[in-house]
Amino acid sequence: MEMVKVTIDGITKEVPKGYTVLEAAHSMNIHIPTLCYLKDINKIGACRVCLVEIEGAKGLQTSCVYPVSDGMVVRTNTARVRKARKYNVELILSAHDRSCLTCIRNKNCELQTLAEEFNVDEIHFDGDNIHYPIDDLSPSIVRDPNKCVLCRRCIAACNEQTVYAIGINNRGFRSIISPVFGRSLNESPCINCGQCIISCPTGALREKSSIEKVWDALNDPDTHVVVQTAPAVRAALGEEFGYPIGTLVTGKMVAALKRLGFDRVFDTDFAADLTIMEEGNELLKRLENGGPLPLITSCSPGWVKFCEEYYPEFIENLSTCKSPHMMLGAIIKTYYAQKAGIEPEKIFVVSVMPCTAKKYEIERPEMALYGIKTVDAVLTTRELARMIKEANIKFTSLPDEDFDDPLGESTGASVIFGVTGGVMEAALRTVADIVEGKDLDKIDYQQVRGLDGVRESLVTINGMEIKIAIANGTGNARKLLDAIKSGETFYHFIEIMGCPGGCINGGGQPIVPSRIKMDLDVKALRAKAIYEEDAQKAIRKSHKNPQIIKIYEEFLKEPLSERSHHLLHTEYERKELYSSKNNKENKKSATAAK
């Protein structure tokens, strides 16, 4: 690697040639404040918070985009630099709805942090503020442009997903981030993944809250409230209570849910095992019948919507399996209701998910069973943390507690559903055993692990070669599907998760400030926690889960049975990128205008 010598604040060091001044400073432990910069995602030099003095350059320069060169001398902490940075932050604040106390990002806001660190004690400009309406029509995402600093990190995240739902519109003072033609996100191609939320430095983007709904259910003595938690939640919830990234808090999480007053605490992992039973057999059936192949996983509702919008020709390839928490919802309102002797109408099911798209998923009409919803509310990991805080539960001093029977038992295979490659590995563990007709010693499939965007491999089971591929993030899914479409490659089985890294990095997970993301690989740390839990589990293959064996004996009979189909499977439909509703209105006004 070609190196150059740079001097920053008197320290001289060799750094790789392609570095920006910001990266060079960071490698020397010199902190430069930033706002629009987000490692690996956004590098556009828009906010001018990262200004530095560079000898020989005219004016102050934005360090996040300024490339280093040999012999460069940089100063990051002069009076001139401090003054200019502070001025810029003040300018941003002057046009900002500064209601921190009631803001979702209070105490976890990058703008607030800058204001504090820059010692902003007065705003010297009179912002002529436009007051924008809040867009809360989407079932998943709420947009409040009054809190937006126009950093465009959300746009970059959405473009990385290749969804292109939002852009920057108008100019100058009237600039606004929004979908086209003033539409709501709900009338855009948005797949509800929430990657924009976890990229946003401020309170301009948040999930549509279900907290009040859940409190109401908990407060109603006539309602039996059941909660389930997805695998990735336990690997991140602790962050909200000060634990280092990558700390598993499964037992404490269960204890907290019990103290919040949930009548039963079940584990979505159980349903992940159920998914493997159904999907593994679906794969075998499709291999026998010659198609349609590839079979593509369907547990990620963001990915499913992406497929319905952008790749409808692959709809027949999607597994008909509902996502695990939807399966569990259906099981709770039938099997469990029967067992517990409670009418399904009296049961309220809450899913705690790392995901904002699950909020959209429960509203899909085809998910209802006999006209009732099988999951009544979805909370993100962040929302659960808020409820725990609101209930004054001291999370860190909680004991470890266990999930309730009968839907709390799970295997290592189900835990890894939370990370890219996990569904594939879990499926392989079961499919291999079925095909070989024995309990194989092989459990770990290292070749499907990792965080690369697209991965492929060939596994041989009993002489049968299965070509597999894994994509995480819909942008990577697009690459993979385009390659298949062009005939370049062929696979039998594909796992796709809508978010980069999988559920561990879902849009409902704790928000990590950009400056921490510069130092830590959040995805890798959370993934490590997930694989740790897998390794600790006594049972690590889905079909060995005793409660799974029991539910088939007592209720479902066998995978892909009629009852399974009715309760656990679903269908998909082609979706327009832009629904035509507004389209017509547009036409009307256009003709009226003639």
């Binding site: 852009g167 108008n170 100019r171 979908p179 389209n583």
Partner: protein, 161 residues
């Protein structure tokens, strides 16, 4: 009959748009030239036109729309039968032309670059009209009105109703 003629005209415009898209397709930097031509053909860039461009050139609609709202030469709405321009040049501005613009906006219920739902009026963003002596000035199509006060707005608009 008029409806039919309108329809034929509209279809013809779309045909021209598709020809333009085909001509530029696969060329780098095609987007803005195509948008310019589309603005010429239709007189404005409504949703359907932007969608055609987005699909035809394989660029996200958000990008097309972002450009359409960034440059003032693109409009999202057809111009009204009467196009109103209020001078915001220095001389007029000093004499309170922004108050007049505000009054017109309030009266018509539309913003700059928008058209009233009945298609009668639209407001253009206007720089100096070159008759500073009459400041503050506004124009409606080719009629010039000078030395205005906000109270004159009602009467003037009434003439075109």
């Amino acid at each position: 009959m008029t409806a039919l003629l309108e329809d034929v005209k509209e279809k013809d415009k779309y045909k021209r748009l598709h020809d333009v898209i085909d001509a530029y397709k696969d060329k780098p930097g095609a987007l803005i030239p195509v948008m310019n031509e589309a603005q010429e053909i239709f007189g404005y860039l409504p949703f359907e036109v932007q969608k055609e461009i987005s699909e035809g050139l394989n660029v996200p609609l958000t990008k097309v729309y972002g450009i359409a709202t960034f440059y003032s030469r693109f409009t999202l709405h057809p111009a009204g039968k009467y196009r109103i321009g209020v001078c915001l040049g220095t001389a007029c501005y000093v004499k309170g032309s922004s108050l007049i613009l505000d009054k017109i906006k309030e009266k018509l219920g539309i913003d700059v670059n928008e058209t009233t739902p009945d298609g009668k009026f639209s407001i253009d963003s206007t720089r100096c009209l070159g008759c500073c002596g009459l400041a503050p000035v506004m124009m409606i199509n080719n009629d010039v009105y000078g030395k205005l006060s906000p109270d004159d707005v009602d009467k003037i608009l009434e003439k075109y109703k």
